[in-house]
């Protein structure tokens, strides 16, 4: 019976070619091999996000009147609702952390060089999508901190000329952060971004399968490469087991809290800070002088971030030495300075009042 079903499928689908496509990949072995695991780890937390996110949507109500109560209901009444919400929140943080490690390790290993340019571009686009998930998901619990942080966050594009007001109204959906904003954030968070990310993840994984893992420039690979299936997959499974262990430990030991229900008429509380992955932007805006050459400091920071993001996306096309298989000193310095800047600004944002 089973054999008949398999042969029926094989007659209609190119099963053998699909199988060959997935099996043929080899993973090189060298002293930097450990960095290969962070892409798979990011994917694992992304899957956890999808599963827990779908479960949360069954009970969540995206209206200002009901949002906070529905989250309260999930946490207090739904069996293991607190655990699912906590897994969702912690896996978001771990996913972003793993994604940054994966991205910077790919950058420092010059993995974006020919023919992997599109792999880099799709990965960089995924970074923006993931940060979009973080931004749009933050408002959903509709507690005081989420409300006022979003109020500040949605005003960030306002300093940009021409597109500033349009950007703010696009994010808010109205003059104030209210029902329209919540609906907008919810639909972007649960429909638009998941669709875009699924497309980008499929494209990214397909290209990765096609080209295989990149060997860092100047690294010797004297050891025999590992066949991806099943040898590297077993290694990936072990790293995922460890990742899931860390996730469940964080979700149970430090379950996600929830503040008081947001009151738009109340004054903003002291010490509003965004999530850790937006702290570099937050701290840069705080450190910027009010005015430089008659231009506002916020505008300059936003402009620099926009330019920086565009450069980051176009790195494979700007680093000419990479395609020749050589490391470029200015780009290496740029990467290291960027990593140090991100870490420093995050720490400063936590330390400074």
């Amino acid at each position: 019976m089973l054999i008949n079903v398999i042969s029926w499928i094989e007659e209609r689908l190119p099963v053998q070619s699909i199988k060959t496509f997935f099996i043929k990949k080899n993973v090189p072995r060298h002293r930097h091999s450990i960095w290969y695991y962070f892409g798979g780890m990011t994917l694992l937390f992304f899957v956890v996000q999808i599963v827990t996110g779908i479960l949360l949507t069954f009970y969540y109500t995206p209206t200002p009147e009901k949002a906070h109560e529905s989250v309260m209901y999930i946490v207090n009444e739904v069996p293991y609702g607190w655990l699912i919400r906590s897994l969702h929140a912690w896996s978001a943080n771990l996913m972003i952390g793993a994604m940054f490690i994966h991205m910077f390790s790919a950058f420092l290993m010059v993995a974006y060089r020919k023919p992997r340019e599109l792999l880099w571009v799709s990965g960089a686009l995924l970074m923006f999508v993931v940060l979009g998930f973080g931004f749009t998901g933050y408002l959903l619990p509709w507690d005081t901190m989420a409300y006022f942080a979003t109020l500040i966050g949605t005003e960030v594009p306002a300093t940009m000329p021409v597109i500033g007001d349009w950007g703010v109204s696009l994010l808010k959906g109205s003059e104030e952060v209210g029902a329209e904003t919540l609906t907008r954030m919810y639909s972007i968070h649960t429909v638009v971004l998941p669709l875009v990310s699924l497309l980008l993840v499929s494209f990214h994984l397909g290209l990765n399968q096609l080209y295989g893992a990149s060997v860092p420039v100047g690294t010797e690979t004297p050891r025999k490469p590992i066949p991806f299936f099943p040898n590297f997959l077993y290694r990936d499974l072990l790293s995922w087991t460890l990742g899931l262990g860390i996730l469940i430990a964080l979700a149970t030991i430090l379950p996600s809290g929830l503040g008081e229900k947001a009151d738009p008429l109340a004054s903003a509380p002291l010490g509003i800070k965004p999530e850790w992955y937006f702290l570099p932007l937050y701290q840069s805006l705080r450190m910027a002088p009010a005015e430089v050459f008659s231009l506002s400091g916020d505008f300059i920071v936003n402009l620099l971030v926009a330019i920086g993001c565009s450069v980051w996306l176009a790195i494979p096309f700007l680093d000419r030495k990479a395609s020749a298989g050589r490391k470029s000193l200015p780009f290496m310095v740029l990467g290291i300075v960027l990593i140090l800047y991100l870490i420093t600004t995050i720490l400063l944002a936590y330390v400074l009042p």
Partner: protein
């Protein structure tokens, strides 16, 4: 299996929005006592988060970690076998 059990348990509760709608409907048909009695009671969420018991959290953590350790051991053994077959050191 654990994931499926967790999902099944989570989805066993009535949806809060649905029960609120039921309440509204029930108010309009309050005269029909039979209908009102047959409708399940509304679960009101308390105003503050009730932290899950430490023992409940500890038990979940323990069970999941033991399962993950068992799974890790199994995968580790399979990995060793596969590596030997492929001639990897």
């Amino acid at each position: 299996m654990l994931c499926l059990a967790l999902i099944a348990a989570s989805l066993s509760m009535p949806n809060q929005a649905a029960t609120a709608q039921e309440e509204e409907k029930r108010d309009t048909t309050a005269l029909d006592s039979t209908t009102a009695a047959a409708t399940p009671a509304i679960v009101e969420a308390p105003a503050k988060i009730i932290d899950p018991e430490l023992s409940e959290r500890g038990l979940i953590l323990f069970v999941v970690l033991v399962m993950l350790a068992g799974f890790g051991l199994l995968v580790g053994l399979k990995k060793r076998e596969a590596d030997q077959r492929a001639g990897l050191d």
